[in-house]
Structure formats: C-alpha cells, structure tokens
Symmetry: C2
Subunit: 398 residues, 2 copies
C-alpha cells in the first residue's frame, strides 16, 4: 500500500485515490519516499523510466506515455546579459500537449491503469483539461473533464478533439474542485486534479532533469508561476529528494510568481502569515494562474518557511512585457502566465536574493498558441503590400 505524507503535518495514512488530502490540515498529500536504493537509469528513453526508482509506480508502460518531459534547458543570451545572471529556460511548451501538465498526467495515468481504474478525470481551466483528455485517449480510459462554463473556445476545442466526456459547469470553481472527489468515489473516476499526489511525482522529474542538464548541479534559483501550488510543491520535492540522497548539498532558491490580480500566496508571504486568505475578486489576464484559493497554498508557504524561497506578484503589464521579451529576444513564445516567471525574476533581481553571475532557471509552463487572442491584444504589426511594388515597400522599411 502507498503511504502518504503531508508537507505541513508529516507522515499520514494510506493513499486514497478519491480523497488525497491531509486529514489534519486539508492540504495536498505526497507519497512517502521508499527506502529502496535509487539510481537514475541513464540508458532509458523515457523520463518515467530514467527516474523510475523515484516514482511510486510498480512498473512503467511506455505505451501509455506520449513521451512527455526531456524538455530543453536553453540559455537566454540577452536576458542573461541584461540581468547580469545566467538565465536558462526550461521549455515545457515542447511537451506532447504543449504544457507542463503532461508530466503529471503521465504518472497519474500509469497508476490508474496499474490499479485497474477505468476512468480518469480532472477539473481544469485549460492546459490540464487537454492533457488529461489526450492521455486518457491514449490509454483507452473513459475520461471526464469538468471545466468552468466560461472556458474559451480554444481550450474547449483542444480538449474536445480527444473525445472525453466534457462538461462545462455553472457554479463556484472551488466548489467544483471539492465536488469532483465525491463524484470520483461514486462513479469510480480518478480525478487527477492540480495537486494530485501522482501529478506532483511527475513534476519532481523536472527538478531531476534540470539537475542533470546543469551538469549534476542545482541552479541557484528556480522561478515559476504558481497557481494551485502543485507544480511548485512537486519541483521542491524533487530537489529535496536529491538532497536527501546526497546528490546536492543546497536547494535552489525557489520563487513562485503570481499575478497581482490574484496573489493570495504573495500576499501571505508579504504579511509573513503561515496560511493564506482566499483572494477576493480575482482579476488578471493570466487565467492559468488565477486560482484565488489554491489547494496547495499553505504547503507552499510551509516549504518556504522551512527551506527559503518566496512568492511574489507581477502585474499583467509586466507579464505581457516579459512575454514580448521572450518572443522578440529569445524566440520563445509562451503564455503571459508562463512569462510571469521572467517578470518575477526581474523583480527578484532588484532584491538581494540573487547575486551577479548566479544561475536562474525559469520554467516556461505553456505554449503561447494556447491563448493567441491575448498575444494579439495589440494588433499584430503587419504591413500590407503588393507583389508589384515589394521593392519600394522594403526600401521604405529598411
């Protein structure tokens, strides 16, 4: 049986797929580390196989994978120069459904199939919906996706193509999140939501990849957007396990970035509180990180108290500026919600958290193609021209 632990309260009960929350604090659970001997399997093709010793899976079926992970870590030349740091981007937009969510979904689906569960589901505003629908289709599982009623057409379409049961639900999103677990137990559906313990196991592997890509070293800082807290917790846990195994001596400074218009955790950090308060009236363009009541929020705050790190907030304008910088200077087109990581790093550089020459990794979580209308806020700069006088047009633009 799989034993769990809570990042805040410590060791907990056996894992319950239909209720993966701490009985004491209500926060998300992690799987306990097993005591077996671990090693990276360097000859494996899939990250799931490479890091299998670190995963609570009895075996890996490559047929269920879409070959997620193994994403590039790119040096950002001009950003590095401008900030006096070595800045690298972990480009999660090159995953099979073009967001980091695939890493979590892949582990959840492996476990579901191993346990004989026939249906998986998720509650999502977008990237996780498409990811879960894709992996559910690949595995031949029944898939139930619950989205908010106002979810945009791009996100609906890129989920619906995989043929899930797709419900657009009227009602409070936090309530929908909680309700999904009741539905799961009643209908036998494994709802792998944002802070699901197996998702967090998948996000751990990003930490392992970064460590290996840097030549078996952690970065000095790792900056990523934070919404539910699941991604942050998973990455942190990955570095904690590397340290526990003696592979690294220091954890990176972990910085989570939220949108000013929905920043319950940044506010709690500012106010030095142990627990956050639901953020009233969220308002931001960054839908993928606009959770006012993040289920993993208090665990993130607890990790920061114990290991250092921070959560800070950036404005929509700063995110859009960072998105532009990444696309115009580095050739990387990600969501503003992802570019928040760069906006956060620029703020962090003004503090004393990072010293010149240190190495910072930004996690770019989702492809810019997932919200083109936003990128197109300012009308795109297109010049109309005629084939017959292209020479003149180009001369005038030179």
């Amino acid at each position: 049986m799989d034993r769990t632990e809570c990042p805040i309260c410590g060791p907990g009960e056996d894992w319950d797929v239909f209720n993966p929350f701490c009985r004491a604090c209500g926060g998300p659970l992690l799987f306990q580390r097993t005591e077996r001997r671990r090693a990276f399997r360097k000859e494996a093709r899939l990250p799931l196989e490479r890091y299998a010793d670190y995963l609570p899976l009895p075996s890996i079926d490559p047929g269920l994978s879409l070959f997620e992970g193994n994403t590039p870590l790119l040096r950002l030349g001009r950003v590095s120069q401008a900030l006096g740091l070595t800045v690298l981007a972990k480009n999660e937009t090159q995953n099979p459904t073009w967001s980091f969510k695939d890493r979590g979904t892949s582990v959840a689906v492996q476990k579901a199939v191993a346990m004989g569960i026939r249906a998986i589901g998720t509650v999502s505003t977008g990237n996780m919906a498409a990811s879960t629908a894709a992996y559910g289709a690949r595995a031949g599982l029944r898939t139930v996706i619950l989205v908010k009623e106002d979810t945009g057409p791009e996100k609906i379409i890129s989920t619906a193509v995989h043929g899930p049961t797709l419900l657009a639900v009227h009602g409070d999103y936090g309530g929908l999140f909680r309700k999904s677990y009741d539905l799961g137990r009643k209908f036998g559906i494994y709802f792998a939501n944002s802070t699901d313990p197996l998702r967090l196991e998948g996000y751990k592997l990003t930490a392992f990849e970064v460590y290996e890509q840097l030549g078996n070293k952690p970065p000095d800082a790792l900056v990523l957007p934070v919404s539910s807290g699941g991604h942050f917790i998973g990455l942190m846990r990955g570095f904690i396990e590397l340290k526990a195994d003696g592979l690294i001596s220091d954890l990176p400074f972990m910085a989570g970035v939220q949108a000013e218009g929905c920043s319950p955790l940044a506010r709690a950090v500012d106010e030095k509180k142990r627990t956050f308060t639901r953020f009233p009236h969220p308002s931001t363009i960054a839908q993928a990180i606009s959770n006012p009541d993040p289920p993993g929020g208090n665990a993130v705050l607890s990790y920061i108290r114990t290991y250092g790190g921070t959560v800070l907030a950036v404005s929509d304008g700063e995110m859009l500026e960072a998105q532009k910088r990444l696309s115009e200077h580095e050739g990387l087109f990600c969501l503003p919600d992802s570019a928040a990581a760069l906006a956060g790093l620029m703020k962090l550089r003004e503090t004393s958290s990072l010293k010149s020459g240190e190495t910072a990794v930004l996690v770019l979580t989702g492809s810019g193609l997932k919200n083109l209308h936003l990128a197109g806020q300012a009308p795109p700069a297109v010049v109309r021209a005629d084939l017959d006088n292209l020479d003149d047009t180009l001369t005038s633009l030179a």
Copy 2:
C-alpha cells in the same frame, strides 16, 4: 566553397544563397556530400551537433538553436492493430515552434550567421513563417516574412510576436516565391524558402533520428504530407546518405500524401509522367499542403523513379477522419494536413506496397493548435451542467 548538386541533373555549381536552383532544370539544389569520414556524435545534446559530420556547417553555435529535433517516435497501438502493421508516429509537433519547419530553419540560421548574413526571410503560408521569425529573433537577425494576404489571424499572430518585418502581400504566391530571391539579392536577405538547400539538410536529420530510434534500421515505409517537396527530398536524402555510408542496405518505401483538391504530384505519379503540371484551382482545407506548383515536385518524381515510393492523394474528409483517429485513439492532436499521412497509409495498406507486420513511420508535421477553427468544424461535444446536479448529469451520461 559549397558545391551543389541537383537531384535530377547531378553535380552543379557553387552554392548561391540568393539563387539556389539548378541552372538546367530549375529545381531545388542539394549540397554535395563531402568525402570526409563521418560518425554520429552520440554524446551531443543537440541533433545539429550529433549529426554535425553530415551537415555543411563549419561549426555549430548552440546559442542559435532552440533545441529543435530529438522528437519522439511513438508506437500507435490501435492504428497498428487495425492495419496489421507496426505504425509509429514521428511527432514533429514537439518542436520549438510546434512544426517540422524548425529543423530546416535551424540549419539555415547557423549558416547565415557563419557567413555574416544579417537578414533572413521566408515566403510562407504559416508554419515556416513562425519558425523563421522565432529563429531570426533568437539569432538577433533582421527577419523579413512574406505571407499571402489572406493568411489567418492565428498564423499572423504566432509570427508577429517575434517582431519580424511582416508583409501580407497581394499577388500570385508562385510569383512571390520567385520574387523573394530578387529581393534577397537586392537587400542582402537570405530567403530560406521551402526547398532551400540548408532546410533540406535539416530535414535529413529526421531520417537519422528515425533510423536510430528503430535500433539502427530504416522503417519499411515512411509516409508524410507533401507540398513544396522539400521535406520529402530532405528525408529521402537522409536515407540515401545512410545507405551510401553502408549503415542501411535498403531505403524505406517513401510515400508522399497530397490533398485531392491540390495534388499535382499524385496526378503525375498516376499518369506516369516525369514532370508534373500546375494544379488548376486548388481547393482543400489543408492549407499547409496546398501548393499547386511545388518547386521540388519534379525532384520528388525523379527520386520515386529511381528509388521507388509514391505520391497519393486523400480527400479532406479522409484527413479529418484520420485527425480524429489520431486524437481520439492515440492522444495526438495534429493538423489535418499532418493527419494526411495516416489517411495516406490507410490507402497504401489497400495496395500491395506494404506487407502485414511491416513497420511504417508517419511524420506528424504540425500541431493541431495551429488551426483550431478547423478542428472545431463540427461543434465540440460539450455538455452544459450545473454544479448542483452534476451527479444526475454524470449518471445520465454513464
């Protein structure tokens, strides 16, 4: 100096970046093979470095790369079973700008920078525009992108984000293609268009990766969409070089797939002609493969005469059905223009070209996110529901 050769006419002149066409037949040129000793550099991280011995580049600057290539080769379980073959997908949608074009752009940009060229360009209907703009931005080059005046907003936006000079041009597309080389010479812009010799070098690497991913073997067949012919020629050339080096003894059966509504090469193959005729009044949903006058068309026909293979045509309906099959059964969401490869394979299976149990590789060229409105042709299957009676809704759907 780089010497060229024509796939049809044989060895040619020195390479001219502003006029990379055969003086005899007008077709696209390839670089001549150098006679140096070659090997795969198995420890390299970038495909450009791994296969550097096979590329006409003096050196590789990883700082210009976005870490293109190294894409998964996935077994398609249900498709394999249905067709009685081992069918694998080479998933080029996981490239940095989510299409195979990045492989070609990366090589062109390496060469441009090595030669001191300060501006690159392309004439494109979509994927190549975004790719060229992204790599141009990364390299700090001036970038000039020429698109048709009716190019859709998604493709405009995903190109414009990288800050190129972007011209939407009124006039004949074939004329624009030819005109671009005049502009290139006049303004010092390297127009790396669809059949550019350096692009073809990049596409060769897909053949090398497939060979290695299959355990140092070619597939029995390789199926891919064909428009300009550049991708087909590059892949074919890759396998020809593997054979010339004694690494494989047989070339795969190469099958190009076109849309029935724009199938000049399939028609020429049907009619056993050495050269194709411009396709009148193209009409297909598959814009990425709707070139009625493909510049590499006769070279494709020549390769097929010499080495075997074919070009066949599929209907828009067959492409959409194949797109649905890939997304609902395999979890892969690609453009219908890419799913054409599966539609083509299904046709091919009805002929005697493939025997039961043989291995076929489909090249999935571009992400479905690049044309969501098309995927949404049939309204997506979404059920409206209310949080308060989700139980009843799910019961009714079970």
